[in-house]
Symmetry: C2
Subunit: 140 residues, 2 copies
DNA sequence: GTCATTGCAAACGCTTTGCATCTGT
DNA sequence: ACAGATGCAAAGCGTTTGCAATGAC
């Protein structure tokens, strides 16, 4: 059964996640490899990424728009604080949250626990801009 | 400009979320209304749901499979602990996490803060089933 | 030589959109 | 009567899959 072979394409996909931190989509990886001159098909990237997830080498989450994004598991775990207006992102850590999530899951008998946490808000710059434009256009 | 009208369909969609707790997809709402005898188009459900999200009456998140699901905002805010194998979901609360998210966002100057948090794991039943099947098939 | 892997294109599922019709105001 | 809302069908998007060709072992 399932004998796994080392191919140029699989290696290339894994290498992308070695070089890049954070989350990246299959399409992004594909574009990046194509740009680098590595001929590779989109479906191959999808299959390679899935294989890496199955192997436990990648974690995956869904973005707000429904796209699947992947990151190397060994990367330092952190969360994102995202401005919902300009998209500016701040990486934040919260050891307490990690422990809480693990504890809650354990209390319910869950094992092999992971979690995703995103915080959304309006950053200083954008809330000031919004206030200014509201003043200029009263009925906004 | 944007004058919003009260239509039978919009009311029906909003009513579904009044009666049901938790997260539900647009397709599920559509099927439910059809089953109840309310004639309504799928795209109308999508548009109604989006309008409710814009109005701040619904929250939306993405499931693991990329489907968008919605829930009434007035519902007590909580998070989900999801079995990544069978999909069983437990609702969990974590006041500490809420406060942490608000504080971290405030420290970075963000306002109007919200967040999404999902915990994934393998539930007791599924981890037992997995152990059993691994024992039966040593080279799995 | 065998069989997993590749790559294309077509299929898929969820969501969005164009447009003619309908309806609340 | 006007402007927003509806519903269908078709398009759009990310993702998956069928199948013949390719290449790792």
């Amino acid at each position: 059964m399932g004998q796994i072979r080392n191919t140029r394409q699989r290696t290339a996909v894994a290498a992308v996640f070695d070089e890049l931190d954070g989350f990246h989509s299959a399409q992004e990886v594909h574009a990046r490899l194509r740009a680098a001159g590595d001929g590779i098909g989109l479906s191959t990237v999808y299959r390679a990424v899935q294989a890496l997830v199955d192997d436990g080498e990648l974690d995956s989450i869904r973005t707000d728009s429904g796209e699947a994004v992947y990151r190397r598991c060994s990367t330092q775990h952190h969360h994102h604080l995202v401005c919902r207006n300009c998209g500016r992102t701040v990486e934040v850590e919260g050891p307490a949250v990690e422990r809480w999530a693990d504890r809650v899951a354990a209390e319910h008998g869950f094992t092999d626990v992971s979690h995703t946490l995103e915080i959304f808000g309006t950053c200083t710059t954008c809330s000031q801009a919004r206030a200014a434009s509201a003043a200029a256009q009263p009925a906004g």
